[in-house]
Amino acid sequence: MYVLLLLAVAATLLPFAWMLLGSFKTQGELLRRPVTWWPQEGTLANYISWFTELHIDKFFANSLIVAVVTVLGNLLFCSMIGYALAKMSFPGKRFLFLLVMVTLMVPGVVTFVPLFVMVSKLGLVSTYPALFLPFLASPVGVFLMRQFMLGIPDSIIEAARIDGAGEFRIFTRVVMPLCGPPLATLGILTFLGSWNNFLWPLVAAQSEDMYTLPVALSLFSTGQNATNYGLLLAGSVLVITPIVALFVALQRFFIQSVAATGIK
């Protein structure tokens, strides 16, 4: 059993090991056959060019701002909508929920161009709001929060109401503190989605100082006919490091919440 598990772990980690080792190789060595595992003529040049001439810190800051705002927006708005759909009663509630579900089934490519036209008519092209505004709430997040909140007993909410708490107070003081696991899931998944998003930031940012990490990675390492693999691998290492750190730090919540909500 353990042998099988170890094999599976090795198979999962192998590409990452290849990426890490490859980031220290020269282009010549990466193109050579037979392939070498350990860098024969190790070089730090790939990392040095990211930090000096290519100014990765600028793109890193952009990615971080966009990801953090998107995560905060999702945590707030998805739980508000989820609460309304789960615990409040008003006419048209079922229809609204249905609409949320329908948007889940519309592929992103269909709304891509109209979305860009909207952003451009709002005059937001090449600004931070253009990068995060469209993603501040997601249907998946709403669904996740609603499903979890359905499981919170009505009696708790009613007790708070009898004690004189208003709707907003109930939401912030009673419901939200119970929602740790789905909020952790939503936070991690939204962060990942925003961090890795490529096409939207590419299109919405029309000047280089607004580019995010994935866009910069593609810009500097992938040419028309040739790819600078060393630079690409080193950049990839730099891009995934925060993700790995985040996952390791929040791993406990993540596993807990997947088990609790049954949604991944």
Binding site: R33, I81, M118, V215
Partner: protein, 438 residues
Amino acid sequence: MFKKRAALSAPRMLHPSATKAAAIGLSAALLLTACGRDNGSGSGSTESASPIASGPATGTVTVWAQGAEGTALPALAKEFEAANPGVKVNVTAIPWDAAHNKYQTAIAGGTTPDIAQMGTTWMSDFSDAFEATPSAVDTDDIFPGSVKSTDVGGTKYGVPWYVDANVVFYRSDLAARAGHETFPTDWDGFKSLAKDLQSKAGAKYGVALPAGGADSFQRILPFVWSGGAQLVNKDSTKWTLDTPELAEALNYYNSFFTEGIADKNPATGAGAAESAFVNGSVPMWIGGPSGIGELEKAGGAGFADKYKVALVPKQKSATSFAGGSNLVVFKKSQNRDAAWKFIQWLTQPEIQVKWYKATGDLPASQSAWKDPSLSGDSKLAVFGDQLKDVNSPPSLTTWTQVSAAADTQLEQIVKAGKDPASALKELQSTADTIGTGR
């Protein structure tokens, strides 16, 4: 799955309360206006642009350029700014990966720059958004084969910036061992060289040729054109694929696979072709100028003496594929006068030489090739010769579909032994259904 969907379908939730239906309606309305914007412009009829104002360039010019071009251009643009004190050039570098999407959305959203670098095969996709080249912009010095790539439906849009042509790369040391001191010029000689490299010089395969897959048909066009075949008729109203010339070209091409001179399942991974070329197992391929740099890295010092480049083999002609990029001005440009002046400046011979030295991009200007940095290099000189006989695929919006259908047929010929004649019959009927978009 989840990540993409979460990220891309989120916009509908902008106004969570009740305005959802309104938001959907709004976006649909915006889409409709975006599509309708270009109506009434240039579908087939020729158009001409108004002349350029005289005097030095002023104002701000925004340029979008891809990859290495985008990162190298700002340094050169400084010289233009110095010569025209009133002008400011802003360059935005765009990754090649998704540049096509980026232009698509920018055109739909009306946020296009003044100037853009446009791949030669993208011209017909976006030409509705470009301004026709003013007559004051002189293209006499540019390679005619490349100027042809700016022509969509009889109107020229933009100017070639840099060019690239496919030539034959071969291991001259192995060819000499196989008894070929000079490179053959015709189809029969080319095949016997490939055969001899295999039988006398220890190569596993004589030549690497595309055996199917994306863009494979586009890559074998040098054989198609050299055999005298034309893909469309004179006025681009009908595809001419089921012709004896094209059948002959495909029969010749396929014989490399049936005789075992080329691999039916070539390795396609990163660096596979380069390393096979360096270790001599597949010592010949057809490719563009970027191969020189790649081989330099893969082969190390001294390897440059072991290979040469040569013109594509001749049958009726020795016509190769012209690639590269054009510079275009968008109709929505707020500063078209300065934009065209910048393009004129960039295509001057001495600036083209400077650009070559900065990026390795081959000059589109013919007189730039007289510079010793280009004419003195034996390999580059071959590219210069080849560029005098190049062709581009038809500038038709349906070319992408037809060439994809041709890729499939090519793969069936090479891998499944389909008869080229019947493959062409099928291809012709598919292409007739697709049409030429005219």
